[in-house]
Symmetry: C2
Subunit: 212 residues, 2 copies
């Protein structure tokens, strides 16, 4: 589902651990809303169908230590996970390809409330350029390079059609963006210093088609 | 990213193999468009950054055998993968929750051209009920049970907000749908005979936030 191809300084946590942390955070935030102050690793494990030892290891990688036989203070746990994921900071992004999927991502509150900050969207469609989609203005893709030079953009979300995906990825990396979140089907070639994460809904659909 | 909780007769292929098959299919379909008639496992492996032995094993699970030192006939390979994935058949589905993400999925050609057939969408929003989104009519959710009784629906795609996700999942499984593709953040509880696949975009965003 994902692939990292950047020679990054690895985090103290493994990729699978990082991928599980949002589900812990969601659960603990919900506990907080319900007025719960302390939560145990075992309760979290039961809710998420994981082994308690797994949960404790995953949470330990954020730096938090639970009290034996008691658990974690809910507010501390939320802070620890948010901090570890950098979800307490803004991540400036642009979206390229303002079609159906792109528009959905621009309005996806789960991202925006966890720091993802869309500065602009880009498209080639004259009908979309100049309009706003879920609060983000759509620019002509010809303005992308100049925009990136003037703004601090960390992430490009790529939701263009497959036929132009590689060309757009080249444009994005030449403009200096270091991270591409690829929602197209194309296996992109990018420079080694660009972090590439591929999201592939087709692979889940394959599992459904085989088993349903 | 996904989780199966149904006691299904396992396919001859592992889940990771099934998840890789769409990328092979995409590549081989593209080769066909370019007029290529024979493709080798090594070429596929190089394009997708996989080991050749992995590619040959994955493809063998669809029943196809390549010619040593030559490769696979492109048209045969496409047929074998499509057949194995059941992408040569229709999969009748409903979508529940016609918001941004739901609307994007209704129009996602990558699914529809591989057999996913949305019969209807359901929502509670009076403004949406009766309209069509990307060619699929939106019904009042109160009609869901009767609809499912009268139509042959295999898959429910769940894109409602988290607060009502479990209630809607209950409604869906009681109506008799055997497969739920869950795009919400909620860890759903469903009967053992329901196949549940969870799609979690937040876990990818977590990886991006840590490394970008």
């Amino acid at each position: 589902m994902h692939k990292l191809n950047k020679n990054v300084t690895m985090s103290s946590a493994s990729i699978p651990t990082i991928r599980r942390l949002p589900s812990y955070l969601y659960l603990v935030r919900k506990a907080k809303e319900e007025g719960i102050e302390i939560i145990s690793g075992t309760v979290i494990a039961n809710e998420l169908d994981l082994e308690p030892i797994q949960v404790r290891k995953d949470l330990a990688s954020t730096g938090i230590i639970g009290k034996p036989r008691v658990g974690y203070k809910v507010t501390d746990l939320i802070d620890a996970i948010e901090k570890f994921l950098n979800w307490d900071k803004k991540h400036n992004a642009i979206l390229v390809g303002a079609g159906n999927l792109g528009s959905a991502l621009l309005g996806y509150k789960e991202f925006t409330k966890n720091g993802l900050n869309f500065l602009a969207a880009f498209d080639v469609d004259e009908k979309k350029i100049g309009t706003s989609i879920n609060g983000t203005k759509v620019h002509n893709i010809s303005e992308l390079e100049a925009f990136v030079r003037n703004e601090d953009v960390q992430i490009a979300v790529l939701t263009v059609r497959s036929g132009i995906a590689q060309d757009v990825a080249d444009l994005i990396s030449e403009a200096g963006i270091q991270t591409i979140w690829n929602f197209t089907k194309v296996k992109l070639k990018v420079p080694k210093d660009v972090l590439l994460l591929k999201e592939d809904l087709s692979s889940s659909y394959a599992v459904l088609s085989v088993y349903s």
